[in-house]
Symmetry: C2
Subunit: 478 residues, 2 copies
């Protein structure tokens, strides 16, 4: 009912806003391919779907992502009176209006805070709530190669239990998903927050410098041991303690895909660290041992690799932490861990939780670069071309073919047959077959069908045309 | 990497914002059921998917939806310097800051303006671009029963041709979609913008009052002929002209589902109107006749009903217009029409287009109210319950069952068997089967499987458990 302006608007940029993307059909086929596999694997693990609104109250979002996160939130401007009032008040009071007066809603920044809100809101959820959520989030970050302001996250979380079965299950789901997508040489790096803290204590580092030490250690991959030692020094940690900590978190490379070597690596490392850490560290090691044992026969079993330097931000994790590494790729395809303090934040009670998040955008980039997508047919099964026949007959034939289960496009205008066939095979159309309907075919109750890739063609009685018959024609090529 | 606040936040509302909704698993199953059918039918008609970003430039959105639409746009507040600068400038200049200084991006308001932007932007699109788009849009409207601020639209459009085959195809797709969803007694009301204008001329109404007259006529359904006559009078249209116009747009009711009566209704009405309108009106009638003939053998054929009073806002339509009516339902499930002036607005040339939009939210409400959903299984195929066995063995069995294609949830904690079985069948979980794994089962390489709905149970060798075997157990109930 809205009155669109009819006049042509003066020429302006028609690109999407910076950091945002249009997804045309070929992009969407690839995205849907990945999402369908994730959904199937998550559901095979007993996760159920959740979707939450794009817009959340700022009171829900603010303060959950740190100061930097708050800065990156998209806020929705108040409208009408709600906007006029604070602006006029600021003017009347001779002051600059404040951001907080101009907005009280914002865009979803991640999928974890909405999960926490949902868990607090709905009493009908099962005690062990296993949900997956595959939705976009928005961050007003500086856009760059592979970095977008609107991007998808794929999260699985299990709330309501401290059982390590839950930790093993999110690892199993993530490993099975990557395997089904065609990744093989990936590794799930594994560590434990309490083990990290115990190593810091064992190195003789003051507890007050714990967070500082971990930020530095987390960079081991990027800046190397010397770089980390230098950074620890700058942050007031003595050279001996720094050396000690680096020795504790050091571990050998394991060849990707060698399950035997991986098991030996994990066992030896846990034994080595077990000899060095205090009781709380021992408890963490026991949990890691149990998680590895639980996972042994799951899809994650051959991929879990103990990585004592893995820190993953640390802020909210309370137990095991995970991160996916792929050969020859900087950065990770996803990660997660146990975070028992977070999901209960909107309610009265603590709610234990463990989750694993996969980064859809990175997965897509890597799969594209490595040619991991199967052939995803873009076009319809058949483009119906026609010459010198009643157009109502053309649509009747199209309806009949569709009723037989085929995806059929109808060339919409009268045109020379050559032009119609060329269009059927053009980039961005790519029908698999062309069907040609002329006076003679109509009279005989047949369709001339041409397999566009091979040029193979045959006249087929209309009532016999279905996918099997078309496949047979395509196969007769050889 | 963001530092979540660990402290429990003081108790606050955990509802989604007004007009927004969380979709828990049962909601999503229904939404996905409908969306999957729409996608399948749209693809069967040769439409390809498109998704555009949530955020668009305000320069793209503003002025396209009329003044009321502009008011309902969600705008994104500028950040940091981009916000500070205009607020400080307003303060320095002693004036109230203006809304237009505070935002230059907003949320998608519909799917048609993004389509127009995409068509202008991407030269690789085929000449006849047939796209479907199923995505949410946002409008800061007053929320109410069945009215949301975030809601899905499902649009199909064909751009690049004036051929009525395209009009017939969008009607065919919409009718086939509704039929597949289980609607039968629906009608696609049909009219033509140029016929409407011709009727207004034929009634002797001044061309300047055309839009006014149509707004009134469009309410015939709601306020009746007397109401419309009164409104026409108020708007300065003489009683004779008003009476004349009402006589022209009047048409008989047709019994839903009576294809013969529908054809007679359409034929008679076109003949009656043909005798009254001028040449431009005759041209519109010829188009309607052709569209009805083209549609005769398509899924839309038995549903298209000429409705001379149908106006559909009129602003941007240029040819045939459609609207779906369902028995015993006020309002429509969707509509569309030809709009040759709009899609080219961001480019240099006019781009002819025709489209049909279905309203997902209304379709869901009606299907729910009328019990039109099939049984949509919420829970996993099997909940794996266990007693006195190594948990690693439990996960091994789960991995084996998942590899056999089953969706399996593992009870995550040690608990009494009765409690586990109760949980497997609880609301919000609803596993179809429970599998029971104890020491004896493990030793024998079997699983005790119980069909929860019937209580039927059997011990089945692990390697034999798949969907077929489980279905057989469920069927053995009788």
């Amino acid at each position: 009912m809205c009155g669109y302006a009819l006049a042509l608007v003066s020429k302006q940029s028609t690109k999407p806003p910076s950091g945002m993307r249009d997804f045309l059909a070929p992009d969407l086929l690839r995205r849907r391919h990945v999402i369908a596999i994730l959904q199937e694997v998550y559901e095979a693990h007993g996760f159920v779907p959740l979707e939450t609104p794009t817009i959340e109250k700022l009171s829900t979002l603010l303060g959950k992502y740190g100061e930097e996160g708050d800065q990156l939130l998209y806020r929705l401007l108040h409208r009408r009176d709600a906007l006029r009032r604070p602006l006029e008040a600021a003017h009347a009071e001779g002051r600059v209006a404040h951001e907080a007066e101009l907005a009280d809603q914002g865009l979803r920044y991640d999928l974890t805070v909405p999960l926490a809100r949902v868990v607090a809101q709905y009493r009908e959820l099962p005690k062990f709530y296993k949900r997956y959520q595959i939705q976009p989030v928005w961050r007003a970050d500086r856009p760059g190669k592979g970095r977008f302001r609107e991007f998808y996250q794929c999260d699985v979380d299990i709330t309501g239990t401290r059982s390590l079965i839950a930790d093993a299950e999110v690892c199993s789901a993530s490993a099975m998903a990557l395997t089904r997508l065609g990744f093989d040489g990936f590794c799930i790096r594994l560590n434990h927050r309490e083990l990290l803290r115990a190593m810091i204590r064992a190195a003789g580092i003051d507890e007050a410098l714990e967070a500082t030490a971990l930020v530095a250690v987390d960079k081991l991959d990027k800046i190397g041991a010397d770089g980390v030692a230098a950074e620890l020094g700058e942050r007031g940690i003595g050279a001996d303690a720094a050396r000690e900590l680096l020795a504790l978190v050091a571990s050998d490379e394991v060849e990707v895909g060698d399950a035997e070597a991986l098991r030996a690596h994990n066992t030896q490392l846990l034994a080595k660290l077990g000899a060095r850490v205090d009781d709380r560290g021992q408890a963490a090691i026991a949990e890691l041992r149990q998680l590895l044992a639980l996972s042994a026969s799951t899809p994650a079993g051959a991929h879990l690799q103990l990585s004592p330097e893995l820190a993953r931000g640390l802020g909210y994790y309370t137990g095991p932490i995970f991160e996916i590494a792929v050969a020859d790729l900087k950065g990770s395809l996803g990660g997660g861990g146990r975070y028992d303090g977070l999901v209960g934040m909107f309610g009265k009670h603590e709610v234990p939780a463990v989750g694993f998040s996969l980064g859809l955008e990175r997965i897509l980039v890597v799969m594209e670069e490595r040619g991991m997508f199967p052939t995803l047919g873009l076009g319809p099964d058949l483009m119906l071309c026609w010459l010198d026949v009643d157009q109502a007959e053309v649509l009747r034939v199209a309806a009949q073919l569709r009723a037989a289960g085929l995806a059929v496009e109808v060339f919409p205008e009268a045109a020379k047959l050559g032009k119609q066939l060329q269009y059927a095979d053009a980039d961005g159309v790519k029908a698999r077959f062309a069907g040609i309907l002329g006076e003679r075919e109509l009279g005989d109750g047949v369709l001339a069908v041409k397999h566009l890739a091979s040029g193979q063609q045959a006249k087929i009685p209309l009532a016999q045309i279905d996918r099997a018959r078309l496949d047979a024609l395509a196969a007769s090529d050889s």
